[in-house]
């Protein structure tokens, strides 16, 4: 009887080992204080964990006296989130069409994408910090921060969705003697609508989370109150505010999920 001649088994383990070694080296570099790495101080955790635990316990011992003061800033947080999402949605649709190949085969596509990549590389609270210094404390820097943040997210995802979707219908628009703008308006917009609307809803969800901390740097909303109660070590009140944010975030998520299902 002859032995079955199997094709040689491809050797994947050397590569796996190499990848693991590289990951281990990077990790080692980040935790070695001698070369500027982070000092992992498990000793402090062992010694001081009860400080943190006390804070968590205090948070679970709600200080409801803060409640009446939270309504206005909470509403402002929501308003900032909604206005930010709406303003960015208005700008995002034309920009997305501009940044995608099927809807803009000619020019400026990579420029739009490059600018938005740069916009996306700056974290939200950094925008807020700088904008507060520019235009002053209030809701305006908050709204502007969210517009910048949302534009980065929505335009990227929607233009990628247009790029990867079947866009043969646009050929028909051009073949009928239409301009690219006409074909985009009449065909690409309805075709892209579900992806776009669902990204806008997603950006609204993110906005509620983000705008709740924008106040930490003076950009309006409930974050201002968070900063205050933290300054006075009122962890019970902080717990109440977190629960409120939790409730609002969950409600918005549920609502946006319901809407998103109906989009199809």
């Amino acid at each position: 009887m002859s032995v079955l001649a199997a094709p040689p088994r491809p050797r994947t383990w050397p590569r796996t080992v190499a990848v693991l070694v590289v990951l281990a080296l990077i990790t080692a570099a980040t935790v070695t204080p001698a070369i500027g790495g982070i000092r992992i101080d498990l000793g402090t955790i062992a010694r001081h964990w009860h400080f943190g635990w006390t804070k968590v316990q205090q948070m679970f011992d709600p200080d409801l006296s803060i409640l009446p003061r939270t309504w206005k800033p909470l509403l402002e947080t929501l308003e900032i989130a909604v206005v930010g999402a709406a303003a960015s949605a208005l700008l995002a649709l034309p920009l997305s069409l501009w940044a995608a190949r099927p809807t803009n085969p000619t020019w400026g596509r990579s420029a739009v994408r490059a600018v938005l990549n740069a916009v996306r590389a700056v974290p939200d609270l950094v925008y807020a910090t700088v904008l507060v210094a520019m235009v002053g404390v209030g809701a305006l820097p908050g709204v502007l921060t969210l517009v910048l943040f949302d534009l980065g997210v929505v335009v990227k995802l929607v233009s990628e969705a247009i790029d990867s979707a079947d866009a043969r219908y646009l050929e028909a628009g051009l073949a009928a003697g239409g301009t690219q703008a006409q074909a985009n308006r009449m065909m690409a917009v309805p075709q892209t609508w579900p992806a776009y609307a669902s990204q806008v809803l997603y950006s609204l969800e993110l906005n509620v989370r983000i705008s709740s901390v924008l106040g930490l740097v003076g950009a309006g909303g409930i974050g201002r109150l968070i900063d205050e109660v933290r300054g006075f070590y009122r962890y019970g009140a902080l717990g109440v505010i977190i629960v409120e944010i939790l409730v609002v975030v969950v409600l918005i998520e549920v609502a946006s999920n319901v809407l998103r299902k109906r989009l199809r």
Binding site: P10, I26, T27, T30, V31, G36, G37, I38, R39, I40, D41, T44, I45, H48, W49, F51, G52, T54, K55, V56, M59, L75, E76, L78, E79, I80, V82, V83, A86, N117, A121, V122, P123, D124, L125, V126, T129, V130, A133, M134, V135, G136, G138, A139, L140, V143, L144, R209, I210, V213, L216, V217, G220, R230, L238, I242, I245, L246, V249, V250
Partner: protein
């Protein structure tokens, strides 16, 4: 043309356009909510009108003559931020994977799935900054605090992605292993892992990318890194230094995104290629 000469017939009777009441209502409600929010929130309209001028003014302050002498220090602090992000991603992904797999439908039992998912949802709602505020009472204003805050804050979304990825694995493979008499652990190793691993690895890298951004934010409460510097220079209105910092943040973030994005594409594409070749 004969068609033109044809006797005039009554115009085409189109079926009546259906009224889409639900859609109209949704549009009106959305519009009303947005307008109400816009009207009620106190936007500084003069500020908005002067905004373009202001932006040009400040951009010039920041980028016309950046203070490049701050560059070495900025790079050093950025490195601290990246370290926070890496460590936070590593810890967060390990914990999320351990907790996320049993939270997937078809893996863990219901009594385990529900509380786990509730915990993830709660963590998702708490901003990283607030988690950091609690943790810094234990470990102080150190980058380690930042890494821990990123790790814990990341669990909320990352564990969710983990169980969603596992649930998205087509049932066939796992079923085949189970049909061949595999135990739960064997099912996970041979049925789920080969299918889900590339996606999970790719998500882990993505977690690192997200953490790079968030770590800059954590600096705002003083745990170190580039965010710390940024707050300081902004408060003292040293715009030429702020400009340098923003350039550094943008360049480093985009570089990390590019490298990590290329790796992620290789991971997911490579997995697909292996499946097609049948060499896996």
């Amino acid at each position: 043309m004969s068609a033109v000469l044809a006797p005039a017939r009554p115009r085409v009777a189109a079926p009546p356009r259906p009224r889409r009441l639900a859609v109209r209502t949704a549009q009106l409600v959305t519009g009303a909510v947005v307008l109400a929010a816009l009207w009620h929130v106190h936007l500084d309209w003069t500020g908005l009108r002067e905004l373009p001028g202001d932006v040009v003014h400040y951009l010039r302050l920041m980028f016309a003559h950046p203070d490049w002498s701050k560059l070495p220090y900025a790079l050093q602090q950025t490195w601290v931020s990246v370290q926070m992000a890496w460590l936070g991603a590593l810890l967060g992904v390990v914990v999320s994977t351990v907790l996320g797999i049993p939270a997937a439908q078809g893996v863990g039992p219901l009594w385990l799935r529900l509380p786990l998912r509730a915990v993830f949802a709660v963590i998702r709602a708490v901003p990283e900054v607030i988690i950091a505020i609690v943790i810094l009472t234990v470990t102080g204003l150190t980058p380690f605090t930042g890494a821990l805050a990123l790790a814990i804050g990341g669990i909320g979304t990352h564990a969710k992605w983990t169980y969603e990825t596992i649930e998205a694995v087509p049932g066939g493979t796992a079923e085949a292993v189970r049909a061949a008499g595999g135990t739960l652990l064997e099912t996970a190793r041979w049925g789920l892992w080969p299918e889900a691993a590339p996606e999970l690895l790719s998500l882990a890298l993505y977690r690192f990318e997200l953490n790079v951004r968030t770590s800059a934010i954590l600096g705002l409460i003083g745990v170190g890194g580039v965010g710390d510097l940024l707050t300081g220079y902004t408060q003292y209105r040293q715009w030429d230094a702020v400009g340098v910092l923003i350039v550094v943040v943008v360049v480093v973030t985009m570089a990390i995104d590019a490298v990590s994005g290329a790796l992620r594409r290789r991971i997911t594409k490579g997995a697909r290629a292996r499946v097609v070749d049948g060499t896996e």
